[in-house]
C-alpha cells in the first residue's frame, strides 16, 4: 500500500516531524479559505503556523497549521491553504496601482508585509516571485491604504483573472508566489464558487 506522507516544517523550513496515513480529503476553493483536517493515530510535533506537506504518489499539498488537538485516539491537525496568509489587513499605497501593473502591486504589498516588516516572526524566508502577466490601469476599489489583501485578490480574480499561486519547495527552502493571469476557462472555474469548489478524496491504496 502506498501511503500519504505527512511532514511538518518550521517557518524556516527546518524539519519538525512526520507521519503516514492511507487517505486524505482535501478541499480547495480560491474564493473561500476552506480549512482541511487530518487525523493521525499517533502524536507528532506540530504547532500553529507550522507548514504542513501532504504527499502521495501523484498528489502534493501544502498548508499552514491552524490548530492541533489531541484526544485518546487521534491527533488532529487542521490546516489552511497558503492563501490564508493574505487574509489580513496590510498597508498598501493605493496610488501606486495607477503607476505599476496589478501583478507588481501585489508583489510589492507582499514584500512589504512578509519580507520587510521588521518582524522576524511575520517575515517569510526565501521568497521568490514569478510575475507571469502585466495588467495595467487596474482598479481594485481600495478605500484606504489599509486593506485586506485576500479581499483584493478576490477582486483581482473576478475583474482581471489575476491570481496568486504558491509553490513551496521544502528541498530548497523557498516559497515562490506566481502572480499572473489565468485563462478564461480557469477564471470561470475559479470565479464561481459553485463550480470552483473542488473536493477530492484521495485514497492511497
Amino acid at each position: 500500500m502506498s501511503l500519504y506522507n505527512i511532514e511538518l516544517f518550521n517557518h524556516d523550513f527546518s524539519y519538525i516531524s512526520h507521519y503516514q496515513i492511507d487517505s486524505i480529503s482535501y478541499e480547495f476553493d480560491y474564493l473561500s479559505l476552506s480549512i482541511n483536517k487530518i487525523q493521525l493515530p499517533g502524536a507528532v510535533k506540530a504547532g500553529r503556523g507550522d507548514y504542513i506537506h501532504l504527499e502521495g504518489d501523484s498528489d502534493s499539498f501544502f498548508g499552514i497549521v491552524e490548530n492541533v488537538t489531541e484526544s485518546d485516539t487521534f491527533f488532529t491537525i487542521t490546516y489552511k491553504p497558503f492563501l490564508s496568509l493574505f487574509d489580513t489587513d496590510m498597508y498598501m499605497n493605493r496610488k501606486k496601482l495607477k503607476e505599476i501593473s496589478l501583478e507588481q502591486f501585489i508583489k510589492e504589498v507582499i514584500q512589504d508585509y512578509f519580507e520587510n516588516s521588521g518582524d522576524e516572526l511575520q517575515n517569510l524566508n526565501a521568497v521568490e516571485y514569478d510575475l507571469e502577466s502585466e495588467t495595467l490601469k487596474a482598479q481594485l476599489d481600495i478605500e484606504s491604504n489599509i486593506d485586506n489583501l485576500y479581499d483584493l485578490l478576490q477582486t483581482a480574480l473576478n475583474r482581471y483573472g489575476v491570481i496568486v499561486e504558491t509553490v513551496v519547495n521544502t528541498a530548497e527552502k523557498k516559497i515562490t508566489f506566481q502572480i499572473g493571469k489565468i485563462n478564461q476557462e480557469e477564471k470561470n472555474n475559479r470565479g464561481r464558487p459553485s463550480q470552483c469548489h473542488i473536493q477530492r478524496i484521495y485514497d492511497g491504496q
Binding site: S2, N5, S14, D203
Partner: protein, 253 residues
C-alpha cells in the same frame, strides 16, 4: 495438514497443533472487502474498496485446566503473531499480527476443555523476505500489495542515495545528507509506522536522521509486483554493505 502457532512478545512459540492445545473449527481465514458504490440507473460504480480486518474465530481444545492456564499466561505477552502454514508444497509459513479479543474458559469434559477464541488482525498475512549484498539488490514480489521495506546500510557511508526500479522503471529515489560512522548502521524503515530513518550505534542508541532528507526525493520504498531492483550509492569511497528486509503481504493465503 494445516498448522497454526502463536508467537508472543517474548519470542516464544506456542503450537496450536498439539493434543494439549489444538486449534480447530476455525472461520475467517480468508479475505473480505469493504466496498462502497454509487448507483447510476442499474449500474453500480465502485467508489472505494479496501481489505476488511480479519476476524478469525475457532476453538482450542486444551487437555486440562493447567494447559488453559499456561496458554492464558502466554497470550498476555503482547503483541501476538499467528503463524499459519502447512498448506503449500513448499510448506511456507505466513504470519498475521493479531490481538485476542476473547478466550472463553469452558468446563472440563470428557474430551478436555473446548474453548472459543476470537482473534482480530492488525494487518493481513505476510512473510518476511531478506536480501543482502553490495550496491545492487534484487527482490521479486509475487503480490499486488505494496511491500514496506527495512533498508539497513552499514557504516561507513556518506550521503547515501538510492534508486528503486520496478520492472525496469524507476519509481522512487531517496537521498540523505548524513554520515554514518563505522560500526553504525542507517535504517530506513517503511514497515513500521510512522516511517523511520535512524542511525543506530552500538547498544541500539539511535539518532533520528529524517531531517537530513533531501526533500526533493520521495525516499520511501514500497516494493511492487514483479522484479524490484534497488541500487545504492554514496559520496564516500568505501564499498557499501546493504541489507533489505521486505514485508510481503497477501490479502489471503
Amino acid at each position: 495438514m494445516r498448522t497454526f502457532a502463536l508467537i508472543n512478545a517474548l519470542g516464544s512459540r506456542w503450537s496450536l497443533n498439539d493434543m494439549d492445545s489444538f486449534f480447530h473449527t476455525m472461520k475467517g481465514l480468508g479475505q473480505g472487502y469493504d466496498t462502497s458504490y454509487t448507483r447510476i440507473g442499474n449500474r453500480f460504480i465502485q467508489q472505494k474498496s479496501s481489505l476488511s480486518q480479519k476476524k478469525i474465530t475457532g476453538k482450542i481444545r486444551f487437555r486440562g485446566y493447567s494447559d488453559f492456564s499456561d496458554f492464558s499466561a502466554f497470550i498476555q505477552h503482547k503483541p501476538l503473531t499467528l503463524v499459519y502454514g502447512g498448506f503449500t508444497p513448499e510448506n511456507n509459513e505466513y504470519l498475521l499480527d493479531v490481538v485476542v479479543k476473547t478466550l472463553e474458559k469452558s468446563e472440563l469434559e470428557n474430551g478436555g476443555l473446548q474453548c472459543n477464541i476470537n482473534f482480530e488482525s492488525l494487518g493481513t498475512y505476510y512473510k518476511i523476505m531478506c536480501a543482502e549484498g553490495g550496491s545492487v539488490i534484487t527482490m521479486h514480489s509475487d503480490t499486488v500489495i505494496g511491500a514496506g521495506v527495512r533498508i539497513c546500510i552499514q557504516g561507513p557511508c556518506v550521503n547515501p542515495y538510492y534508486r528503486h526500479y520496478l520492472n525496469s522503471i524507476e519509481v522512487c529515489s531517496g537521498r540523505f545528507m548524513c554520515s554514518i560512522p563505522t560500526g553504525h548502521k542507517m535504517i530506513i524503515d517503511t514497515i513500521k509506522l510512522p516511517y523511520e530513518v535512524k542511525d543506530y550505534a552500538e547498544y541500539d542508541n539511535d539518532t533520528d536522521l529524517y531531517g537530513t532528507s533531501d526533500f526533493s526525493t520521495k525516499r520511501f520504498v514500497s516494493l511492487g509486483y514483479g522484479e524490484n531492483v534497488l541500487e545504492f550509492f554514496h559520496d564516500g569511497s568505501s564499498a557499501l554493505n546493504v541489507k533489505v528486509e521486505a514485508k510481503i503481504e497477501y490479502e489471503s493465503v
